[in-house]
């Protein structure tokens, strides 16, 4: 006996151009987002010197669309934690992270933000990933500017290659 087939009802009227666009939307949104990273510099310690070097003209992070720091977490989508995080500052970092709107990414800049570095004592958090999720780690004490640029490019590749589900819900 043949089964009765239930026809799939699409919410959208079938249109070739829409079908083509929906297959490409993640790629398109990823392309747009990877070149519009607005960093929020959460700068706590000596790595700030290297962060300034990265932001300066010779290294020119504007090539990657990541040059303009936003000093409000509401307007930024890349949280750069630059330097040692102490236990006293941990609630501040968590609040800043929670205030950022989706989509958001986190970069642990330098050895201290990555793992606590050489601080193993009452004061320092051994890596910010104990508090908030981290997308990319930058090694070094402090990192060379080339390392930071490499991290930005790796993060861009990741953004370009990932799905962007907010758009999927709406479409």
């Amino acid at each position: 006996m043949a089964k009765a087939t239930i026809p799939i009802v699409s919410a959208h009227a079938p249109s070739p151009s829409f079908e083509y666009f929906s297959t490409k939307k993640d790629e398109f949104v990823g392309w747009a987002r990877k070149f519009s990273l607005f960093p929020y510099p959460f700068v706590t310690a000596c790595c700030a010197m290297e962060f300034m070097a990265v932001s300066s003209t010779p290294y020119d992070t504007d090539r990657f669309g990541a040059a303009l720091p936003r000093f409000s977490p509401r307007q930024s989508d890349l949280l750069m934690v630059v330097g040692t995080l102490t236990h006293k500052q941990a609630p501040v970092l968590l609040r800043v992270y929670e205030q950022m709107c989706e989509p958001k990414w986190v970069m642990a800049f330098g050895a201290c933000a990555t793992s606590g570095g050489f601080y193993q004592n009452y004061a320092a958090v051994a890596g910010i990933d104990r508090i908030i999720p981290v997308d990319i780690y930058v090694p070094g004490c402090p990192p060379r500017p080339e390392t930071v640029i490499d991290a930005i490019m790796k993060l861009q590749d990741r953004i370009a290659g990932s799905r962007h589900p907010i758009i999927t819900k709406t479409f």
């Binding site: 236990h87 006293k88 009452y122 990933d129 104990r130 908030i132 999720p133």
Partner: protein, 157 residues
């Protein structure tokens, strides 16, 4: 000039009953905690040590008066330093506050209270300055466990 002046300070203080020696070209005065405030007042008014540079402590875990409380003064007239040391007991680590003489003593005594638990009698505000509220213990004491953390934010699992 400076050496002659320090010599004068040393002679006057030895006459007054203090124990004063030279160590690495700095005059070091050791005295009981009860005489601390009077000595600081004399140093400020008679010998013009008008700048309080530092308040800190040293923990000697096996010694009977366990803590040294150490003060450094500087004279902007004579351009020399002097060090004041006093010993306090572990069960009663109390010294007189110098806030009535030096405004800079407020914050430095708070820090010393954070790190070593020295109580400065007369300091109106001994809240934590580098540590946070509800921090238990004093981290620069030798018996504070080296890896003991007191996180304010629960760790992710």
């Amino acid at each position: 000039m400076a050496a002659a002046f320090l010599d004068l300070v040393q002679r006057q203080l030895v006459l007054a009953g203090g124990d004063a020696v030279f160590s690495h070209n700095i005059l070091v005065i050791t005295l009981p905690p009860a005489e601390l405030l009077g000595m600081a007042r004399r140093l400020k008014s008679e010998f013009l040590f008008d700048l309080l540079l530092d308040v800190t402590a040293v923990d000697w875990p096996d010694r009977t008066p366990r803590f040294d409380v150490v003060y450094h003064f500087y004279s902007t007239t004579h351009l020399i330093r002097v060090r004041l040391k006093t010993r306090v007991l572990h069960r009663d680590p109390v010294v007189d506050s110098l806030t009535s003489l030096y405004g800079s003593a407020h914050f430095m005594e708070r820090e010393c209270h954070d790190m070593y638990g020295i109580v400065f009698r007369g300091n109106p505000d001994l809240r934590p300055i580098l540590l946070y509220e509800n921090f238990v213990g004093h981290p620069l004491r030798k018996d504070y466990p080296k890896l003991h953390e007191q996180p304010l934010v629960p760790y992710r699992t």
